[in-house]
Symmetry: C2
Subunit: 408 residues, 2 copies
């Protein structure tokens, strides 16, 4: 099928080179297509790694192995296969991942466990060993490529290439972060899975990098939803080469740790928003902010209940300030709420306060807000000080087109 | 908007008169429409009542009061308002319900707490007191009507009138059950809420009736989903007049209690399925059976995760045996599962066994099954003996049409 560029797409940013990171791409021909589909990132010795993975109880072999590999904290290479997710393929899936790890480890003279592998694409078909072997051989010998080329190569049904960057001053040294991500539905065989990679030249202890990545994940990647579905392969990895020459960061007590944490968080937020902006069929980017819940966790669950409600998402698609559907989504979240303390607004204007429609409610500015591409829904539960924000997109005919009308 | 009759509609069944129950309808004109919209059911003295209600934390006044009223176990009347849900209307909503209860209680010379009220329709607009008063006055004076007339009058955006019946022999006496229900989305302002009413001439203790209704609810109304959204008003009430003259049922030790329980369960199942058959945009009725989970509760949660997955529902709409999406939905359910023990089938044919595609999988009979209107998805988790079944419909352009393209 012909996927048109999302109306919410952003241009690919200028990203700096990251010392110690070399990117290469190749054509493994995992599908019968005219494009590169294998990405190889090589890191200098001493590179730290951290990762967060899908919570699915049925993850791919890549995820199972990646979870083990990040324990050591060290990485020398990353391979990303596009066109075949290698998920639900039993022992043969694991065999393919092990082959790639060995092949790259032989090339770099490192341990196989320092080679990270991700795959995205069709489910239930083992990654073909021959294509993987030839693809890796071509990739390691290829000319280095740009961030944008790598972002295009990890993509599957994405409608635009996604990248993000940031920098921070760490005790007098400037450190750079550059990142790429792919994903447009939470998952679909032949379609999308969220795979994100962050690269930095900062010197940082892997345990501290993991702490920062896990914390940012809670407020970024874990706060986006396109269709409430969760991939078997979702992965975000952060690699830190140390080439910036800063004094190694080991905890928040180190000078510049806050600045680096802020930059990493900013990159994670940018990446997460880019995935929503390429949500299947998305016409509008929606931010949902919940305040006044009994705890931040409670606010997060209420916000996700709203973000995942098909009735809320179709109302936004229809540019309808349908706060009754938001009430419904709050009520079904399974969290403490009191109908008569609930307030709901759109674009900064309350439509309902304390459980009743606002008496002199002027729908005109709300209607104008809903005609835009960036929608804000605000909810005040009125019970406590817990707050959260999540991001999603609307539910449109485009989603049905992509997922029902065209057979995978 | 013009709602066309669901392709999954069933004809209204022949239902017997239930001794002790009289149905009447009237035009309260809650909306500017040419139809009856107020239903009045009158019960003879001594009628037992039981009820199950939405778990929403933001329910309507009708639900809050109904929950209290069923405690007494006695009912003399039911009023159902269509066109205005009276939800999210603060103290004025409660005022309207209390007015109706008093008015009917005066007419019947009973306690107001013996008068049950339900409302369905637009959210956030208090039920107009004058229209309710005039409507009730007309209804109590009207000529008795049929089951089908009552089923039409409680409906809002339903595309067909829904009724179900059953009978049972209780210790030599034949008892009858007749029931009506309305609902086509889990909720939507101006649209649907599930309201179901079961009437029987059996003599039964209210506590035992509640026990049976609650048990059946767990396996019927709690096992259907159209869009994962939960109404602020969902209500099912059962009224038992005792006119059949059977020895009063008080527990499963009484002769005929099993037969009555089976008949009640059958009616609940029929009603629940009818709501799915009128799901917004539904083209296919889907049964999802999960076996081999660690517990029945775990199986139920996995089944609902599949039933609520937009990617599974769009795959069925597209007649695509996309078992990879079922794997995904099992994985995200948050329940114990093992990728390599998982089996998935459609219409009685396994597509994947023990975590891998079936080697000699013949897609032709599966494709034929998916072209039908009644779809079966079978999942074996392979871990235990927990099982569950849930029912849903596919996700189509019709759902988007109803909920996004047309403003409420």
């Amino acid at each position: 099928m012909d996927l048109t560029r999302s109306p919410l797409a952003l241009p690919f940013p200028d990203l700096p080179a990251i010392g110690g990171v070399t990117l290469r791409i190749a054509r493994a021909q995992y599908k019968d297509w005219d494009r590169c589909d294998l990405t190889y990132a090589e890191f200098t010795e001493g590179t730290a790694v951290a990762g967060v993975f899908t919570r699915s109880a049925c993850p791919s072999s890549e995820v199972e192995m990646g979870r083990e590999q990040v324990q050591s904290g060290r990485a020398r290479a990353l391979i990303v296969n596009a066109g075949n997710s290698n998920a639900f393929t039993g022992y043969r899936g694991r065999e393919a991942v092990e082959q790639i790890m060995s092949q790259v480890a032989d090339h770099l003279d490192c341990r196989p466990s320092e080679v990270f592998v991700s795959s995205t694409g069709v489910i239930g078909v083992p990654l073909p060993l021959g294509k993987a072997r030839d693809g890796v051989a071509m990739a390691v010998a290829a000319t280095p490529c740009s961030w944008q080329d790598a972002a295009k190569t990890i993509a599957t049904t994405d409608t635009f290439a996604k990248g993000a960057g940031a920098s921070a001053m760490v005790a007098g040294k400037r450190v750079e972060l550059a990142a790429i991500i792919k994903g447009s539905g939470m998952i679909a065989p032949d379609m999308a899975t969220m795979l994100g990679y962050i690269f930095t030249d900062a010197a940082i202890d892997p345990a501290f990098l993991q702490q920062l990545l896990s914390a940012s994940n809670q407020q970024t990647f874990s706060c986006i939803t396109v269709d409430s579905d969760t991939s078997t392969s979702d992965t975000v990895l952060a690699f830190a080469t140390g080439h910036a020459g800063n004094a190694r960061l080991t905890s928040f007590d180190d000078p510049g740790a806050d600045a680096f944490a802020a930059a990493l968080h900013d990159v994670c937020r940018q990446l997460a928003h880019l995935v929503v902006r390429d949500g299947e069929g998305a016409q509008k980017f929606i931010e949902i902010r919940v305040n006044g819940a009994l705890s931040d966790e409670s606010a997060h669950r209420i916000a996700l209940s709203i973000a995942n409600s098909p009735l809320v998402k179709t109302a936004i698609a229809g540019e309808d300030a349908n706060w009754g559907r938001v009430v419904m989504a709050v009520g079904k979240a399974g969290e403490p709420a009191d109908r008569d303390k609930l307030s709901i607004g759109f674009g900064g204007i309350w439509a309902a306060r304390n459980g009743q429609p606002v008496a002199d409610y002027d729908e005109a500015p709300v209607a104008a807000h809903l005609q835009g591409q960036e929608i804000a829904i605000e909810v005040d539960i009125g019970l406590g000080i817990g707050s959260a924000a999540v991001w999603t997109c609307d539910l449109t005919h485009g989603y049905i087109d992509i997922n029902a009308d065209y057979r995978s």
